[in-house]
């Protein structure tokens, strides 16, 4: 089981992703520069947050044409797990590996805070498992479970046409929605104007996941939340299963 963290010029959450995978979960992890031709040797591909190419033109619009993205698309097609966080989500949408697009926040403000999201589908490769928190409490995936994770973005306003939204709902591709602290999907709890409070979606095949919240920054009580562990642990277990390697379990749980 080997994970890749892709680095684009302007990525700035690459070290957070690397730290979470390698040090919190003990997974063999490597940085992959965007000019590399292949990510074939990896079981999990992570596109981290940041401001690739300065967000010029549109967020992710230029990164999408980086040499490595050709290989990411091929591996995604083959069913390999791809996780795009924040700018990574934007790049996956620009690359058409996920439907829809992320536009400027409704408020025009850059938002940077911890928010609640609700698991809408606990069957995906990214939202199915159970983790133990530092205080010994279990966090078990179920539809309706709230995860508190940080967001930090100016363009997180998920948009898609009506047909695409219907399709996402019908295929249960919506994995996370923004909610209030009680788990209600309300307009007040929508931080950026996303259609239907969407915070994270998977592709039709279920192996490509993009989300605006940062699970990698919510894997340690020191960071104010450990809820992101559920997502990282889920994807690690799923990737391990696909490669038929016994899934490495968190060293510290």
């Amino acid at each position: 089981m080997k994970a890749a963290v892709i680095r684009f010029p302007g990525s700035n959450c690459d070290q957070d992703c690397y730290y979470a995978l390698k040090h919190t979960f003990g997974i063999e992890t490597e940085y992959v520069w965007h000019k590399e031709a292949s990510v074939e040797q990896f079981d999990l591909i992570v596109l981290p947050g940041g401001f690739s190419y300065g967000d010029y033109l549109r967020c992710g619009a230029i990164a999408r044409f980086s040499p490595v993205m050709r290989s990411v698309a091929i591996e995604a097609e083959r069913g390999k797990l791809v996780l795009g966080i924040c700018n990574g989500f934007q790049i996956l949408c620009e690359a058409r590996l996920l439907p829809g697009a992320l536009i400027r926040n409704r408020s025009l403000h850059f938002i940077c805070e911890h928010l609640h999201t609700r698991i809408e589908n606990m069957e995906t490769a990214f939202s199915h498992t159970e983790v133990t928190k530092a205080d010994g409490k279990l966090l078990t995936a179920r539809t309706g479970l709230l995860l508190r994770m940080p967001v930090a973005h100016g363009e997180g306003n998920y948009t898609a046409d009506e047909a695409t939204l219907r399709e996402l709902n019908r295929n249960q591709q919506i994995v996370l929605r923004y909610t209030d602290a009680r788990g209600a999907v309300t307009d007040e709890a929508n931080p950026n104007g996303s259609k239907e409070n969407i915070a994270g979606i998977v592709n039709r095949a279920g192996n490509v996941f993009g989300l605006m919240p940062h699970p990698e920054r919510a894997c340690d009580p020191l960071l104010g939340s450990e809820d992101g562990k559920l997502i990282i642990q889920s994807v690690i277990e799923s990737a391990g299963r696909k490669t038929k390697v016994s899934s490495p379990i968190s060293k510290r749980s």
């Binding site: 033109l57 044409f65 620009e94 409704r106 025009l108 046409d161």
Partner: protein, 88 residues
């Protein structure tokens, strides 16, 4: 004029690309600017849409290729429409 790939001379051209958010897509910048214009003494402004304008200098214009690039790179068809104008 300078020699092109096939020995043909390529004329200096200008391509002008306008990219606008689709009507169906919320344009938060446009809304903010509309409101600011109203506060600046133009209460009758009903709508502002903000897009991008790109001026491209190019020796010889392959219009089909330019359209392809407009669609794949310069605009995102999920949220935007573009217009391409090529001038000598």
């Amino acid at each position: 004029m300078k020699p092109g790939a096939g020995g043909f001379s390529l004329e200096a051209m200008k391509a002008k690309v306008t990219v606008m958010p689709k009507k169906s897509v919320l344009d938060p910048q446009g809304v903010a600017v509309r409101d600011a214009m109203r506060h600046h003494g133009l209460p009758d402004v009903t709508s502002v849409r903000i897009g991008k304008f790109m001026e491209i200098d190019i020796d010889g214009a392959d219009e089909a290729k330019l359209h392809e690039i407009c669609r794949d790179l310069l605009s995102n068809p999920v949220i935007e429409d573009y217009e391409l104008q090529v001038e000598a």
